[in-house]
Structure formats: C-alpha cells, structure tokens
C-alpha cells in the first residue's frame, strides 16, 4: 500500500499514462493500475472520479458517455493534447526522483549490510 500523499501525487500521472494506451472508463482504469502494480497501488475507487473530472476541467482529458456491452452507459475518457504535455512534464519529474533514489540505493552501504 502506498502512503496517502504518494497516492494523491501519483494518481494524475498514472491516469494519463494508462490513457496513452487508448481511451478507457473508470473501472477499467483502476483494474489496469492494480494489475500493473501487482496490487501494490490500491485506490479508494470512488476517489478516482473527482480526479478525472478535475482533469477534464483542466483540459487534460475529455469524456463521452457511450453504450457498453452490459447495456448500461459508460463514461469513456480520452487523452488530449494538453494531457500529453502534462504527462511529459510529470515524466521528467518522476524520473528525476527515481534516478536519484536509484543511484543512492545502488551505493555500497556498509552500515546497512
């Protein structure tokens, strides 16, 4: 389980990244993240929707109600140009953090071993 702060920070880049695979709806988005993280990233599922709506307001994504195979209408979300740009920036930042931590953790640590 991720810390609350990390969940809040990573939701937007995760959603943007999953949507680069193509348009998707909320439940499938969550399933995809769960599957990729092997269950390590668990959201309070309903909390995703306010985030999605905020992202839509910010023009990062767009949405459309469409019929699904179950007969109920589903809201599909799609990446927009602004979203790609935002994802690019997020990528830089997350990679910077990741690379720094990776380098630090690769150093021999006599006290820990």
């Amino acid at each position: 389980m991720l810390a609350k702060e990390l969940v809040a920070a990573s939701t937007v880049p995760l959603v943007l990244s999953v949507l680069t695979e193509g348009e998707n709806y909320g439940y499938a988005l969550i399933q995809r993240v769960r599957e990729l993280s092997a269950g390590k990233i668990e959201w309070t599922e309903g909390m995703l929707y306010p985030v999605l709506h905020w992202m839509e307001k910010e023009d990062l994504i767009e949405s459309e109600w469409r019929d699904s195979e179950t007969g109920r209408k589903r809201k599909y979300y799609r990446l927009r140009k602004e979203g790609r740009k935002a994802l690019h920036e997020e990528q830089q930042q997350w990679l910077a953090v990741h690379e720094t931590l990776a380098k630090l953790w690769k150093q021999p640590k006599p006290r820990l071993t």
Partner: protein
C-alpha cells in the same frame, strides 16, 4: 447465511446505496450514474470470481468508498452546485422564518385581545406596560421557535421524506414556484389597475397579497423572491442537463 442469500435483492441494494449518496448535494446525477456503473462492474467482476451477490456487493461498496469521504472530494469538484444549493436553502430558511412569524402572530393577536385589552381597559396604557409588551414578545418568540423547530426537523433530517422529495423534485419545484410568481405578478406588470380586473376574473386571486408583494415598501421580499426563482432555475437546469447527458 442461506436466508440472507435467498432474500438479498441486488438491484434494491444498489438503489438504496445510490439514494444514500444522493442525499448529499455534492453529487450530480451524472456522478451517481458513473459511480453506479462502476459499482455494477465491480460486483460483476467479483461474482465471476465465485463470490455470492451479497458478499460482492459489500466488498464492492467498501472499495468504492464511504459517503463521507467521497462527498468531500466530489464537493470540491462540484463546488458551484453546492453553493447554489446552500444559497437556495438559506433563502428557503429566510422565507420559512418569515412565514412562521406570520403564523406565530396568531397567538399574539389572541394575547393582545384577551390580555392587553383588559390591561388597557383597566387604565394602563399598553404601550408603556412592560408586562404586555414582554408577554406579546415572549409568546411570539415561543411560537416562532416551536414552529421553526418543527419545520427545520422536517426539512433537514437525513433520509427524511420531505428533504429527499425536495432534492429529487427541485426542478418541478422551480417550475411551480416560478409559474406561481409569474401568475401573481403578471397582471401588475401589464397595468396596476388590471389587478382589480384580474381578481374579478379569478375570484380567489389574492389581490392584497400581491399588492404587498409589489408595493415598493417591501423590497427585501421582492429581491428574495427573484433570487429564489433564479437559484431554483439554475439548479433545475443543472439537474436537467446532467439527467439527459447521463
């Protein structure tokens, strides 16, 4: 467990769950629609993995999150709706208090007739009699408080039928109130003298009431009424829009 499984009605449980969320003004109809679809997807998935419907329902609702947590987050997104809703209820409150004061003045007249008048007849001037003034004020305050408490509890208790009804039918209310006000004010808009004619045409037409409504002495009431109509219309538009979209 056999009995609960046999008596568990999934659709009914989902409807109840949705109604519970719907009590909060933080959710738009569209939001509820999306959450319900999510819940149904989740339940179907869990059922596929061999869970009974009632178990799947419990786990799926837990995963979606509680009303309080979700309401808080959705409120941030739908803050405009929420403020419209709050402003509307504040106005309803103000009008309710005004109405209750009118109702409350009934006992006051009673007191005036049976207590103040004898006091006056006995030689004391009621305008200087602190007792009479105190009594009238007290009675008015008490009746207002009692009536207000009843009204308040009727409207605000969660899950209460009046509250739920008003929230579900706010666009119908808006239509009713606006057409009612329009009907009241229409003759005056055409011509003041038309009012008398209108009352002849429609014997029940409350000429005196409309006169107080539009006689420049009570601007607050007019402003309130107009704000009330605008707010209900805005909320109604919001509801209708999300209803057709969803």
């Amino acid at each position: 467990m056999e009995t609960t499984k046999a008596s568990f009605d999934l659709n009914h449980a989902i409807q109840e769950w949705r109604a519970r969320l719907g009590e909060s003004p933080a959710f738009r109809r569209e939001n509820l629609e999306e959450l319900e679809t999510h819940l149904r997807d989740s339940i179907a998935n869990l059922a596929q993995r061999g869970l009974a419907e009632d178990e799947a329902f419990i786990i799926a609702t837990r995963r979606v999150g509680g009303e309080a947590v979700l309401g808080k987050e959705f409120a941030k997104i739908n803050s405009r709706d929420l403020w419209l809703n709050r402003a509307l209820w504040m106005l309803v409150g103000i009008q309710l208090v005004g109405f209750l004061r009118v109702l409350g003045s009934g006992p006051t007249f009673f007191i005036t007739a049976f207590v103040v008048k004898p006091v006056m007849l006995s030689g004391n001037d009621p305008s200087t009699s602190w007792f009479a003034v105190f009594l009238v004020a007290l009675v008015q305050l008490l009746t207002t408080a009692v009536l207000f408490t009843i009204g308040w509890r009727m409207l605000t208790r969660k899950g209460n039928s009046a509250y739920v009804w008003v929230r579900k039918n706010s666009w119908r209310m808006a239509a009713a109130i606006s057409s009612w006000l329009l009907l009241m004010l229409l003759p005056h808009m055409i011509n003041t003298t038309e009012l008398a004619w209108y009352s002849k045409f429609a014997p029940r037409y409350p000429t005196a009431f409309v006169n107080t409504l539009i006689s420049g002495t009570n601007y607050a009431w007019q402003v309130q009424s107009i704000a009330f109509v605008i707010l209900t219309l805005l909320l109604a538009r919001q509801q209708l829009l999300t209803k057709t979209r969803a």
